[in-house]
Symmetry: C2
Subunit: 87 residues, 2 copies
Amino acid sequence: MFVILVYDVEEKRVAKVLKKCREYLTWVQNSVFEGDITEANLKKLQMELNRIIKKEADSVIIYKFNSLKYSSREVMGLDKNPQNSII
Amino acid sequence: MFVILVYDVEEKRVAKVLKKCREYLTWVQNSVFEGDITEANLKKLQMELNRIIKKEADSVIIYKFNSLKYSSREVMGLDKNPQNSII
């Protein structure tokens, strides 16, 4: 499955969230990751993120797509990680 | 069509980009917008953003999805804009 993960967490937890997401997904920009991931690995990632974030202050949104058949991705300006574009 | 727009722009241009995106899409979190938008309005938004951003420093990524049939959206922690969830 393809996911886009965006996070908005307090500064002191950014490094940990970033490191954890990098283990499973591809960094795209600022606080955005994307990538192909199995259901099992996504559950693992979510469990691990749950241990890092403070639910009353932080936010992580995961968009899941089973099919990318009709999707596209457009970059305006800098592509901060051109090597790793998946779509 | 449904889009997810994420931006990473220099601080002095954040307010302008934010304001412009708000005219067309729904603010989700930090530097993330989502929403249903027509092809024509998306083109308009992109033209207007092109006038605001500096291509050598800023980045805007637009994920476009024609179908949301197999998608879902999961929020961990705070839903910073729970009223306006579209998926």
